[in-house]
């Protein structure tokens, strides 16, 4: 169990560190919202999902995209603005998608994809598909009206969806305590009628255990959805960009230090034998170098691409958009 989880977690960390390393070269043509420090949430929560399951993400979605099996080469090429990117250089780093892997997109408008995930789950239920939808959003997203509306409908229709609030404490630079009169996100979900659970300390093993049990219950039909998890975590880097932001003064390194000391990458690494760990790490490093080279060498899109994809023109009957 620790090996695949470590591979996922380490891979996300190293991809983002590589993005941060490349950033000053100006090769990345997209805003970069790193999840370094909070990758454990997506890694753990996605771990029981298969390719047939579906996730909806936020603009800070490198972790969920990769954890769910999104294509790494296409992700980096997209951030480079290349034709081989996951959206051919049209969506950029804030709108990563990989329908074949069940990553159904990400929005730069906070909270927006919560409702889209609920609608997808409605389709899953209507078609009697035995799959699960997972909706990722931040603590800021829970302040949007669409959050309350979406939870209500998901409860009303008992939809097979797991809401995952990645609570990193900040909406850009503003702490939760300055934004929420009652900073009890689980309480609000519970008030809507959603079975809710708080997981503290960025605890990857706890999140893995709870996600696995919940997905199993939904699949086996022993429990109906929706479910809600508030996963407390911490963003080490600035809101957007590759650097730290402690100099801005809205938070201190002292506040961050316990989270950094509690690094889940190191925690999992310590649970593996040195041999197994080194094997995983060298495979990941090689894959990342391949992907960076792929993004670097890929061409920019042809100018004719500017006007394509505004509308779909196919008239063929349309069933399901990704392999079932």
């Amino acid at each position: 169990m620790y090996e695949p989880l470590y591979r996922t977690l380490f891979r996300i960390r190293r991809v983002e560190e590589e993005i941060a390393r490349i950033y000053p070269s100006d090769k990345l043509k997209s805003p970069v919202h790193l999840s370094i420090g909070q990758e454990a949430v997506a890694a753990a929560m996605c771990s029981p999902l298969t390719r047939e399951d579906t996730v909806f993400c936020t603009y800070r979605s490198h972790a969920a995209y990769l954890a769910k099996g999104g294509d790494l080469k296409q992700m980096l090429a997209e951030m480079y603005g290349k034709a081989t990117g996951c959206t051919k250089g049209k969506g950029g780093g804030m709108h990563l998608i990989d329908p074949e892997a069940g990553v159904m997109g990400a929005s730069a408008v906070v909270g927006t994809t919560i409702a889209n995930a609920v609608g997808y789950a409605y389709s899953v239920k209507l078609r009697r598909q035995n799959t699960v939808v997972m909706s990722f959003f931040g603590d800021g997203g829970t302040e949007e009206g669409v959050f309350a509306e979406s939870l209500n409908f998901a409860v009303l229709k008992k939809l097979p969806i797991i809401f995952v609030c990645e609570n990193n404490g900040f909406a850009i630079h503003t702490h939760q305590s300055k934004r929420q009169g009652l900073p009890d996100i689980c309480g609000r979900a519970r008030a809507a009628g959603v079975t809710s659970e708080l997981i503290t300390d960025n605890d990857i093993l706890k999140m893995h255990e709870r996600a696995t049990a919940t997905v199993d219950a939904l699949r086996s039909g022993t429990a109906a959805g929706p479910f809600f998890f508030e996963c407390q975590t911490y963003r080490w880097k600035e809101h957007v960009g590759p650097n730290e932001d402690f100099k801005l003064g809205f938070r201190t390194k002292n506040e961050a230090q316990p989270w950094i000391d509690n690094d889940q990458v190191k925690r999992l690494a310590a649970l593996l034998s040195a041999g197994k760990r080194k094997k995983i790490e060298s495979q990941v490093e090689a894959e990342i170098q391949d992907a960076v080279a792929f993004a670097d060498e890929s061409p920019f899109p042809d100018l004719s691409e500017l006007t394509t994809d505004v509308f779909h023109t196919s008239t063929t009957p349309f069933a399901i958009q990704r392999a079932a």
């Binding site: 408008v109 927006t112 409702a115 609920v118 389709s123 509306e149 505004v310 779909h312």
Partner: protein, 373 residues
């Protein structure tokens, strides 16, 4: 249940003019309401992916009757009323469409779409492009514009130009029962989000509608009354007023060519420009405000096409640039009507203000809507 109409036969005859010209053998007559209902029924029958939801679609009034009987026929999973959550329910519709369903989301007033703008503009319109063509959003959003009987500020707005502005959305405002059915079928089968705009007064129109399934496809306008002196484009409900205005203009010796754009996005500028190339005069009457509106867009596109080739004169008519009032005399002043449209066209043709306003003819009066809504 149906409100009293003082002259429904006359208006249906006007509305049907273009349809009858195209389909002289059509005998079955249907109301606009029943045309919408039949289109929905036939598509739900044909395609199990079509679902229908919105506030009150399954209640006893069934959205003026447009959804009547559908929940009984297709079940509460495919036809359901929703919580009062336009924002999230629009997002739900998009998510369902991403999964391969073909949702029809109904709003009993267009004004309520303001609560859905984030999802419509930032997600529905953008998903195909922003995701490099890897997903589709086959979504129909039905909404109704109200008029008269005190509909007022927040039940009367024709806001389709908002949606015409955004790449990735199609917009249609059918006028006749024939187009109501054909356009809705086309919208449901379209792989893109379509804003389907109804007008509450048009619901009472009757006209020829084939029983079999057919589609009135995007991007084709219709000449509803051929003429020579002035091109008169009427959008949504204003199409009816334009057809009436053409009758008034006959008395003044002016021959108006009336065009119904039907689809506002994509817009059939060819048909309109070809007409203006002949007439040299263009009056666009919108069921909305003129500033940055559909009338401004249509006139600009025609000018861009014809400038340097043909001298043309243009006129926009639309809502008065104020909030819609409720008192009947003020409300009557707020909307363009057939007589004032005729006067404006006469001025366009004569080249200067004539001060002519036709006497009101009982056979060309607007229908009177008696509520409750």
């Amino acid at each position: 249940m149906a409100p009293t109409l003082c002259n429904d036969q006359d208006t249906s005859q006007f509305a049907a003019t273009g349809t009858l010209a195209l389909h002289p053998k059509l005998e079955r007559t249907l109301s606009y309401v029943d045309a919408v209902r039949e289109a929905t029924d036939q598509e739900m029958q044909r395609d199990p992916n079509v679902i229908l939801f919105g506030l009150d679609v399954d209640d006893p009034k069934a959205i003026q009757g447009t959804t009547r009987g559908l929940v009984e026929k297709y079940g509460a999973e495919r036809v359901f009323g929703t919580p009062l959550s336009e924002d999230a329910m629009t997002g739900v519709a998009i998510g369902a469409a991403l999964a391969g369903l073909r949702p029809i989301h109904v709003h009993i007033r267009m004004d309520f779409l303001m609560l859905s703008m984030n999802q419509l503009v930032n997600v529905a319109a953008k998903s195909s492009y922003m995701y490099g063509g890897r997903v589709k959003v086959p979504l129909v959003v039905r909404s109704m514009i109200g008029k008269s009987w005190g509909q007022g500020a927040q039940h009367s707005q024709g806001l389709y130009s908002f949606f015409m502005h955004v790449p990735g959305l199609k917009v249609v405002a059918p006028t006749t029962p024939y187009d109501a059915k054909g356009c809705l079928i086309a919208a449901i089968r379209d792989d893109n989000p379509v804003m389907y705009v109804e007008h509450r007064i048009l619901h009472f129109q009757n006209g020829p509608v084939p029983e079999k399934s057919y589609s009135v496809n995007p991007g084709k306008a219709r000449i509803t009354c051929p003429g020579e002196d002035v091109t008169l484009v009427g959008i949504s409900y204003m199409q009816l007023e334009c057809l009436r205005a053409a009758r008034y203009l006959e008395d003044a010796g002016v021959s108006a060519e009336v065009i119904d754009p039907i689809w506002l996005a994509p817009l059939d500028i060819d048909t309109i420009a070809d007409s203006v190339r002949r007439t040299g005069r263009l009056c666009v009457v919108d069921n909305g405000w003129t500033t940055c509106g559909a009338s401004a867009e249509i006139i600009t596109q025609v000018m861009e096409r014809l400038q340097g080739e043909r001298e043309i004169r243009v006129q926009r008519l639309g809502f008065a640039p104020v909030t819609c009032p409720t008192s009947p005399p003020l409300e009557a002043e707020f909307y363009p009507d057939a007589r004032r449209i005729a006067a404006a066209c006469n001025d366009l043709v004569r080249g200067k203000k004539q001060g002519w306003l036709p006497e009101e003819r009982p056979d060309l009066k607007d229908i009177e809507f008696k509520g409750p809504f």
